[in-house]
C-alpha cells in the first residue's frame, strides 16, 4: 500500500517538475532565440544557439545617432516621470490615509470614480491640446502621472503603519510634512520601491502616447523608434539577417 503510494508520489513529482521545465523552456526559448538572432553574423541563418558569435549588429546600433538620442529621451522621460508620479501619489495617498481627516471618504470616492469610469481617449487628447501640451514632454509626464491602483495600494500601506510613532512626532511639534518625510517614508521603503518600479516600467515601455501626443521625431523615446524599425521590417516582408533587426530606417 505505502509502496504503491510512494511510487505514485514519485510519478507525480516527475510530472510536476517536467511541467515546470516545459513552462520554463516555453518562456525562455523566444528570449534566447532573439538574443541569438542578434549575435548571428550577417548572412548566416540563425539557430536557437548561435554557431558563431558576432557583435556587428550591436556595433551598428551604437553608430545610429537616432537610436542613441531615443535612448536618452527614454531615460529622461522615465526618471522625470517616476519623480512626478511618486510625488503626486505619495502626497495624495498620505493625507487620504489619515483616519481623522474630514472629507477623506468623499475625496477617496472622487478619485475611485475615475478608476471605474473614464471618458476615453479623445476627451483626454482634447485636454492635452487645450492645455497647449501637444508636442511637449509634459503631455507624456502628466497624462497618466497618477495610477489610482498604485495610489490605493500606497494608501493602504500607510494606513497599516503603527500610528503611535506619528502621534509621538506630532506631540513633539512636527508638521505633517515632517512626519511624512522623517517617519512615514523611511518606514515605507518596500512599497515606494515597488510602486516606483511600476511607474518606471510603464513610462519606459510607453510607445502609444508618444505617437499620440508628440509630432517631432527627434523627441520620440526608444520604444517608438524600435517599433518603427520593426514595422519597417514587417512591411518589407521580414528580413533574414541579424544586422537589419537593429539598423533603423533613417527618418
Amino acid at each position: 500500500m505505502t509502496r504503491v503510494r510512494r511510487q505514485n508520489d514519485r510519478a507525480f513529482d516527475r510530472t510536476v517538475n517536467a511541467f515546470l521545465i516545459a513552462v520554463l523552456l516555453a518562456t525562455l526559448i523566444p528570449l534566447v532565440y532573439v538574443v541569438s538572432v542578434s549575435l548571428t553574423p550577417l548572412g548566416q541563418t540563425t539557430s536557437l544557439l548561435p554557431r558563431a558569435v558576432s557583435f556587428n549588429a550591436y556595433e551598428e546600433l551604437l553608430r545610429q545617432p537616432a537610436l542613441i538620442r531615443a535612448l536618452g529621451n527614454s531615460v529622461f522621460l522615465t526618471l522625470s516621470g517616476v519623480l512626478i508620479s511618486m510625488i503626486l501619489t505619495v502626497c495624495t495617498a498620505y493625507p487620504l490615509s489619515r483616519p481623522d481627516l474630514p472629507g477623506r471618504k468623499f475625496l477617496t470616492g472622487v478619485i475611485l470614480f475615475t478608476f471605474l469610469f473614464s471618458a476615453g481617449l479623445i476627451p483626454l487628447y482634447l485636454v492635452i491640446r487645450d492645455l497647449n501640451l501637444l508636442n511637449t514632454y509634459w503631455a507624456l509626464l502628466l497624462h497618466g502621472a497618477v495610477s489610482v491602483y498604485n495610489l490605493l495600494v500606497m494608501k493602504n500601506f500607510f494606513q497599516n503603519l503603527p500610528e503611535s510613532l506619528e502621534e509621538a512626532a506630532k506631540i513633539d511639534g512636527a508638521s505633517d510634512l515632517q512626519v511624512l518625510w522623517h517617519i512615514v517614508l523611511p518606514l515605507s521603503k518596500p512599497i515606494l520601491l515597488t510602486i516606483g518600479l511600476f511607474y518606471a516600467v510603464t513610462q519606459w515601455n510607453s510607445f502609444f502616447e508618444p505617437v499620440l501626443y508628440l509630432s517631432d521625431a527627434r523627441m520620440m523615446p526608444l520604444p517608438v523608434v524600435l517599433r518603427d524599425i520593426l514595422t519597417g521590417l514587417n512591411s518589407a516582408e521580414y528580413v533574414e539577417s541579424a544586422a537589419t533587426t537593429t539598423a533603423p530606417r533613417t527618418p
Partner: protein, 317 residues
Amino acid sequence: MTNVIRSAPPAARRSPRQRLLARLWRHRGLYLMLLPGLLWFALFRYWPLWNAQIAFKDFQPVQGVLNSPWVGLEHFQAFFSSFYFSQLMTNTLLISFAKLLIGLPPAIILAIAIHESTRKGLARVTQTVTYLPHFLSWVIVFGILLAMLSPGSGLVNKGVIAAGGDAVSFLTDPGAFRAVVIFSDIWKETGWSAILFLAALIGISPSLYEAAEVDGATRWQRIRHISLPGMLDVIVLVTLLRLGHILDAGFYQIYVLYSLPVYSVADVIDTWVYRQGIQNFQFSLATAVGLFKGLIGLLMIVIANRIARRFAGQGLY
C-alpha cells in the same frame, strides 16, 4: 481663519460649525499636501469627463467643446447601425473572452505546479522567469514574435517546414492572427497572474494537507479537494474583475501587432476609436463610441463587484 481659532470659546460651548472649521484648520497641512494631486485629477480625469459631452454634439475644433451645436444621440445611432458595429463587438468580445478562458487555466496550473514541486530551486526559477515577460513592452514582444513567427526565418515556421508543412505568415494571416494575440498574451502574462493564485495557495493552512496525508489522500486528491477549493475565492474574484473589463481586449497589444490585412479580425473598439478619432478627425463619433464602452465597462464592474461580494465575500471596492 486664524481669528476663529484664537477667539474660539472652550470646546464644550463651540457650535458644530466652529468645531468643523477648527478641525479643517488643524489639518491645513494635509489639505495643502492633497492640492497637487486633486488638481491633477481635476485636470486630467474630470476635465475629460466634461469634454465627453462632444459625444452628443457636432464637435468643431474651432468652436470648442462648449459652443459646438448639440445633435442628441446621432453619433450613437450612427455607430449602432453601422456595419462595423457587429465586427468591432465580435472582435472585442471574442479576443477578450478567449484570453480569459484560455489564459486563466495555465495560470492556475502553473501556480499549483510551483506550489507542489519538491524541487524548490526549480520552482523559484520558473516563477521568476515566467513573470519577467510581464515587464516587457508590447513593442519588444512584437520584435520577439517577428523573430519567432516570420515566414522566412522564424523559428516556428522552420519547424513547420521541417514537419513538411507550408510556412504561415502568422501576423498578416486573418486566420492565424487572433491565435497570435491570445497566445502572446498568455506567454507574457501567465507568470504574473499566477502570483495571485500562488498567494492564495500559500495562505492555505498546512494542517489541512497533513490531515489529508494521514487519511491516505494521493497528491492529486489533495490538489482536487484542498488546493482548488482553497483558490476558488481568488479564481472567482479574478474572473469577475476581468469580466468587468471585457471590452478592453488589450489596446496596446493589438495596436502594435495588427496591420491592414488583419483589421477585419483584429480591430477592437479601442483601436477603432483611435483611428476614427485621431487619424480621421471624427472626434464626436469616436468619443460616443468611447463613452459607450466606458458605460458598459462601468456597468460590468458594478455587477461583477456585486457578484464578487456575494461569492468571494469581498469585492474591488
